[in-house]
């Protein structure tokens, strides 16, 4: 508690590199500035830092040896998967080793009878489903970045996606992991059965942002592929009407596989990018996927269609053909880069709110957009209340950067105020450290610090991320108190 984290300053870079080269092939230890550049940030480029050294181990044994080497020297270790995260969780530590797990990319086994897959952390999310497809099985959580994001990163951030309303988050779809502890020991957490004895370390590790251990193999649950899928696309002339339609579906007792909302600016951007046939004139659109047996899907899609119409849908399409569905999803899944084309840069927020507060929150975001003079597009996992406002700005303009950061901070605090959370699925990383003190009391933050210190007493694993050091929080509180008397 209050202990300064590992800095590795006692250990010279020369000694560190020498020790790492004893463990790894020469080309797997990177020290040249130019070669380190690609690792300076994750998907959130607002925050970047060059590591002292980057390593690319190819096996769990090598990962273990690297962690041991760093533990002995009190050198910080930051794990990185595909680098698609958007909270700065994989931003390197300037005195530390960046541990790139991309080369641990083997599918170790699929058990079609037990319906499980065991994979290394660098395997991409989509590859698991591709590998399982032979057995008509798939892995349910599907972040929008699923082509690129790694399952190890998914565990670190407890990633969601467009299907978690029905199928849960990463934490609901894992059975066990093998991880390397901060002391460099390999330990199996979880079980091949549905539960495991003792403390629920699977829950603790999921979403812990690489602060409690480095995951080197993961066993996930697979589900039978649904035989039928329907995708409904509906336009509405107000966000409020679309929000009401979402409520009507839930009230009717239907849990769709996915239920997504986009506002006008997001619709326009996505349509320009994907030409999916979105209703450009609509103020909001809903994409609603239902899956299951033919009978179930026909029944549910007909009922949802009626509910959308009753809520004032201005247009309605039901896509049966898989290609048509894929095109409609392409618009949604490429919404971030599509919105990104509207401005030099965009800043993606991740507030999680009670679904019923959507109109209230969007109205406040519209107001803030005027206050900070920055446009915002909203993409929303409407079914489970997870909002992604995309703030458009120009990183070349320091004032715009500052306004974007303050706008983002306001949105997170707004989310907490309406009973939600500063992050639904992207994680805290470095980005939302300050707002952790808005969501949690000092005693709660100290409890989390104690948990961190319990499993990583030298604080070498991804130090300075996820859980704020309390002193900084007090400074933040004092600052906000002065700004908002």
């Amino acid at each position: 508690m209050g202990k300064p984290h590992a800095t590795g300053v006692e250990c010279s870079t020369e000694d560190l590199v020498h020790a790492l080269r004893e463990i790894l092939p020469t080309n797997a230890v990177i020290v040249e500035r130019e070669a380190l550049k690609p690792f300076e940030s994750d998907g959130l480029m607002l925050y970047s830092e060059l590591p002292r050294v980057a390593v690319l181990p190819e096996s769990a044994d090598q990962v273990q040896a690297v962690v041991r080497c760093c533990a002995e020297r009190d050198v910080p270790v930051v794990a990185r998967g595909s680098g698609t995260g958007v909270c700065g969780g994989a931003m390197p530590h300037p005195d530390g080793v960046l541990l790139n797990l991309a080369k641990l990319d083997r599918v170790l086994g699929i058990d079609p009878q037990a319906r499980t897959a065991t994979v290394e952390p660098g395997v991409t999310n989509l590859r698991i489903s591709d590998a399982a497809a032979t057995y008509s099985l798939y892995y349910a959580p599907d972040p929008s970045s699923q082509i690129a994001c790694s399952i190890g990163g998914n565990v670190a951030e407890n990633s969601g996606g467009v299907h978690c309303l029905k199928y849960g988050l990463t934490v609901h779809n894992l059975l066990s992991v093998d991880m390397i502890t901060a002391e460099g020991e390999r330990v199996t957490v979880g079980n091949q059965s549905l539960d495991s004895p003792g403390f629920d370390f699977m829950a603790l590790i999921s979403g812990s942002e690489g602060l409690l251990g480095i995951v080197v193999s993961i066993t996930v649950k697979l589900l039978p592929c649904p035989p039928e899928v329907r995708l409904l696309l509906a336009g509405f002339d107000s966000v409020r009407a679309a929000g009401d339609a979402v409520g009507a579906v839930i009230a009717d007792g239907i849990i769709p596989a996915g239920l997504e909302m986009m506002d006008r600016l997001a619709i326009t951007a996505a349509e320009d990018f994907a030409q999916a046939g979105y209703p450009r004139e609509a103020q909001a659109l809903l994409l609603c996927e239902v899956d299951g047996t033919l009978e179930e899907v026909e029944d549910h899609s007909a009922r949802i269609g009626k509910l959308f119409n009753a809520s004032g849908a201005t247009s309605l399409r039901i896509a049966v053909d898989p290609d048509e569905q894929a095109l409609l999803w392409k618009g949604r899944k490429s919404a971030f880069p599509a919105v990104g084309r509207l401005a030099p840069d965009y800043y993606c927020m991740d507030g999680s709110i009670p679904r019923g507060k959507i109109s209230e929150v969007l109205e406040e975001i519209t107001r803030l957009s005027q206050v900070y003079a920055l446009p915002v597009a909203n993409v929303f996992h409407a079914g489970d209340g997870n909002l992604h406002p995309l703030i458009l700005y120009d990183a070349g303009d320091p004032d715009a950067v500052s306004r974007a950061e303050r706008f983002g901070g306001d949105i997170l605090e707004l989310s907490v105020r309406v009973g939600g959370s500063i992050t639904g699925e992207h994680g805290v990383g470095v980005e939302k450290l300050a707002q952790m003190s808005v969501q949690f009391s000092e005693a709660e933050l100290l409890q989390m610090e104690d948990i961190k210190a319990a499993l990583d007493p030298s604080l070498i694993l991804n130090p300075g991320k996820g859980i704020p050091i309390l002193k900084r929080c007090q400074e933040y509180r004092a600052l906000t108190a002065r700004e908002n008397p």
């Binding site: 037990a114 309303l165 403390f199 629920d200 039978p224 047996t293 009670p354 009973g419």
Partner: protein
């Protein structure tokens, strides 16, 4: 009337005097799952009632002493339910105790466990601090998931005072199918049906009969019932009694062992007194005085065994852990309950 502040004061005082506390809800599981626990009783039974329920959000917050049965009644009035089929145990099981034990009924493989449904908790740690983790939204990755960490910890990390859960709309309809067969054949059918996309929501076998429960959208349930055959009357459906462990199978004083296994394991299939639940993933057997063998055999199958009820409750009842996991348990225990006063020895003799 006990409130959270009073309880926190009692924990804080016990911490100062290093006096062990034995946490209680409704007492329904005092003789189940864990080892016998010694210490001053501290009860959450008076912390009752719904704090917040918004059916449109599919979220409910209740105080920890609320019984599972009361909760289900509140939900049923809004056509919703708890998809974990958490045991009611004659109406005495409370939400706090149920989360601490993380017991789930027959729907577990499909509906998830109480742990899966938890969105947030308020709890008192071993220092007597009242803390909140998680929240009342579906997705939340701010901070460590200390709420879910309570699931299965048997009260050794905190006294749970409030629980927020995700709930679901009640299935439109349900049908139970029954087939007469022996255990190995029943497991084969469970595996086969489990791999098919279907509204399967329960699969158990005992006394030579396999029961399959279909629940969900009416057309889908009807279609699967026709395709699979064997429809039976609702009266014969064992599900609530199975989840509550009130079936005749469970009315025996001998040591009851719970096996949690990969569905593909053939362990225990030839036991004379066997009940298979969770589509093969949970099996119950009576076999006295052989706990170490069960621990070992289940571990070999990549699962685990619990001395669930009866037998020697002073010996270890939970499956052994690797030395690394033991150390991690001690470290986390130290972080949340430094004086070691919360249910000492309940989960493991050394914890």
């Amino acid at each position: 009337m006990t409130d959270v502040a009073t309880l926190a004061g009692q924990v804080s005082e016990a911490c100062a005097h290093k006096r062990p506390l034995c946490l209680q809800g409704g007492g329904s599981k005092a003789a189940l799952l864990g080892r016998d626990c010694e210490g001053d009783a501290l009860s959450t039974r008076e912390l009752t009632g719904v704090v917040n329920y918004e059916p449109g959000e599919l979220v409910i917050s209740v105080r920890a002493g609320t019984t599972v049965r009361e909760l289900e009644e509140v939900l049923a009035a809004e056509n919703q339910y708890l998809p974990s089929a958490t045991p009611h145990f004659d109406g005495t099981a409370t939400l706090g105790g149920s989360l601490a034990c993380n017991l789930s009924g027959h729907t577990r493989p499909w509906g998830g466990s109480l742990r899966d449904l938890v969105l947030g908790t308020e709890l008192i740690n071993g220092k007597g601090e009242t803390l909140r983790f998680g929240g009342r939204v579906m997705k939340n990755v701010a901070g460590y998931d200390v709420s879910r960490l309570q699931a299965g910890a048997l009260g050794t990390l905190g006294l749970i005072t409030e629980v927020t859960l995700k709930v679901l709309p009640l299935p439109e309809t349900e049908v139970t199918l029954v087939h007469e067969c022996e255990a190995p054949r029943a497991l084969e059918i469970m595996l086969q049906r489990g791999a098919e996309p279907s509204p399967l929501a329960g699969a158990c076998w005992f006394d030579g009969r396999l029961f399959l429960r279909l629940a969900g959208a009416e057309p889908a349930v009807k279609r699967a019932a026709v395709d699979w055959g064997g429809e039976t009357t609702a009266d014969e459906a064992p599900w609530r009694a199975l989840s509550d462990m009130s079936l005749a199978f469970f009315q025996c004083d001998e040591a009851l062992i719970r096996l949690s296994l990969p569905v593909t394991s053939s362990l225990a299939l030839s036991e004379s007194r066997l009940l298979i639940d969770w589509g093969g993933a949970q099996r119950w057997v009576y076999a006295a005085d052989t706990m170490p063998e069960w621990f070992e055999n289940a571990a070999r199958e990549n699962g685990h065994a619990w001395s669930f009820r009866g037998g020697d409750r002073k010996a270890e009842t939970a499956p052994p852990l690797s030395p690394q996991l033991q150390r991690m348990h001690r470290q986390i225990k130290q972080a949340m309950d430094p004086a070691g006063i919360l249910n000492p020895g309940r989960l493991y003799s050394w914890l």
